[in-house]
């Protein structure tokens, strides 16, 4: 079957500044694809172009079998969107939000009403039909937004930072629901800057920075290909000094950030042995993860 979303050579500039500098990716049906990147990498603009809300300067987009932006409206009829910031309708109850949103898809009330209880149940909001939106917690609002995005039974779900600002309980619940949707055969495209989220959910991901995709692939493959196997984190006032004196002898790569040194190694025993003689330093030994890949590729400077 053809891909639910294919993007080729996408470019977009604002006032001469290139926000998307030619990117290609495509989704596999039934899989979760993650678009990762620091703030300002171009993730949200990419999503806006894919939805036909911003006209690209160049490139081809095929969403749900329809060319975008030419037939964006027809394409959007077949997908669901969970935006980065909650935009539920505060004038309506939870059930009315779903009903009114379904009407935007041209669905008749008789088609929508029987689905509402099931959608709320799925979102962990069973019995909250008449709840005022203003009384819902952040996590409940995000789940209701997810239920709203499912009102047209979409083949592809697009989520822009779905768990930003949520507490751990709420994040785990969202992840569990997204996995259930994947199990039902839906395709998911999400943007995030939480690496654990991407590692848990995504079969494929692309890391974006400054409008380009730097690398893409399966999370495990990326970790294997892009970075050393182990990380030894060293903390303490003297960590930077120790890193300058000793770390290079035992590590393939060392990064220092404030009072922490990160030693990237394929074999951790030598550096741990050396550290045994430095009781003033605390250490943490762990396997390398996606966050290490991300920081290696996009750097440690702040992006505002």
């Amino acid at each position: 079957m053809n891909s639910p979303l294919q993007v080729r050579g996408l470019r977009k500039s604002y006032d001469g500044r290139e926000v998307i500098a030619g990117i290609d990716f495509s989704l596999v049906r039934g899989e979760c694809f993650g678009l990762l990147g620091p703030n300002g990498a171009g993730k949200t603009t990419t999503l806006r172009c894919c939805l036909g809300l911003t006209a690209p300067d160049a490139g081809d987009i095929v969403l749900a079998g329809e060319p975008v932006p030419l037939r964006a409206r027809e394409a959007r009829a077949k997908i669901g969107v969970v935006p980065q910031f909650d935009n539920l309708d505060p004038d309506f109850t939870a059930a009315e939000n779903l009903l009114v949103y379904g009407r935007y898809f041209g669905l008749r009330d008789a088609e929508i009403r029987p689905k509402i209880a099931g959608l709320l149940e799925f979102a962990g909001l069973g019995g909250k039909e008449d709840a005022n939106i203003r009384t819902l917690s952040g996590g409940m609002k995000r789940r209701l937004t997810l239920a709203r995005a499912l009102v047209n039974d979409p083949e592809l779900l697009i989520l822009d930072e779905p768990t930003t600002g949520l507490d751990p309980q709420a994040r785990h619940l969202i992840w569990e629901r997204l996995k259930r949707l994947l199990a039902q055969g839906k395709t998911i495209l999400l943007t995030t800057h939480f690496m654990d989220e991407a590692e848990r959910l995504c079969q494929h991901l692309a890391i974006m920075d400054a409008g380009r995709i730097i690398v893409q692939g399966a999370p495990r493959e990326l970790i294997r290909a892009q970075i050393e196997l182990q990380v030894v984190e060293v903390y303490g006032e003297d960590a930077p000094g120790w890193a300058a004196r000793e770390a290079g002898k035992f590590s393939q790569r060392v990064e220092v950030s404030g009072e922490t040194a990160f030693c990237y190694v394929d074999e951790a025993a030598p550096v741990l042995a050396q550290l045994a003689g430095e009781p003033q330093l605390r250490t943490l030994h762990r396997p390398a993860n996606l966050e290490d890949v991300f920081l290696k590729l996009t750097g440690r400077e702040l992006r505002d």
Binding site: Y14, L51, L53, T54, A55, A72, R73, E74, R76, A77, V81, P83, F85, N87, L88, D89, P90, D91, F92, E96, V100, Y101, R103, Y104, F105, G106, N152
Partner: protein, 257 residues
């Protein structure tokens, strides 16, 4: 950005959304829209009217009643297209949510435009009912005022949507009310016949949409067929279409960049 509007039937879903919100608060909303014009109508109508002989062939309060229908329509359409539409566009991000569904911005704006005119018609009609009950309406000819009110609502809603498309915040709307809406009430024959004004000011007033609404509604309420019907209708229609076109271009520039 300023290419022709591409409106589909989905605009009706947007209209319906606003209607559903209004219906929840219909009674307080209607009473709220009635209170302010009625205070002016009775205060000035009886207070000032007692000092005046007939104005333009009718009692002052009947003269003022027709003007009040038009100025209230203008106010209702303007408030909806400014404050309420701005809330939905900028604060609540309701439009953004709608545009993630298969509804284009053109549909959203058309839905808002028709809704603001509908709400203005509801509030104009409510005033019409009250003044008819008080005996200031001469004949069933007054029913023809309803389509005129809707058309005037479209004109003022479209003008308001232009301002909304340009507004950085709610404060911006004060300029529009102070510099455009309030002077129009004084220049367009709501409180007194416009021919009392200096000729230069009169000729400015003749170009304003409220003048054309008043020129149609006042005779209809007095039981007289208005003069130059086609001219006044064409003027209101031209403002409505041109202003909507302009508002759509500006809103596209703001939201679809």
């Amino acid at each position: 950005m300023f290419s022709s509007p591409r409106i589909s039937l989905r605009a009706f879903a947007v209209w319906r959304r606003n209607f559903l919100v209004w219906r929840k608060l219909a009674i307080p909303s209607l009473l709220g829209n009635l209170a302010d014009p009625m205070i002016y109508l009775f205060g000035l109508g009886y207070g000032l009217g007692g000092l005046l002989p007939q104005v333009a062939g009718v009692s002052y309060i009947a003269f003022l009643a027709a003007g009040t229908v038009c100025s209230s329509t203008m106010n209702a359409a303007s408030f909806e297209a400014l404050y309420s539409a701005f809330s939905r566009m900028h604060v609540q991000k309701t439009w953004e949510a709608i545009m993630n569904a298969p509804v284009a911005l053109d549909d959203v704006l058309a839905g808002e435009w028709l809704w603001a005119a509908s709400k203005a018609t509801l509030s104009g009609a409510a005033i019409l009912v009250v003044i008819a009950a008080l005996g200031f309406v001469a004949s069933p000819l007054a029913l023809w005022a309803l389509p005129v009110i809707f058309l005037a609502g479209l004109s003022f809603a479209a003008l308001g949507l232009i301002v909304t498309a340009l507004a950085p915040s709610y404060d911006f709307f004060m300029y529009y009310f102070t510099l455009f809406i309030t002077p129009m009430i004084l220049l367009c024959g709501v409180f007194f016949p416009a021919d009392q004004l200096p000729p230069l000011v009169q000729s400015v007033g003749a170009w304003l949409p409220l003048t054309h609404a008043v020129a149609l509604v006042r005779p209809l309420l007095s039981g007289v067929v208005p003069q130059d019907i086609a001219l006044h209708l064409a003027a209101l229609l031209a403002v409505a279409v041109a202003a909507f076109w302009c508002a759509l271009g500006l809103t596209r520039r703001r939201l679809l960049k």
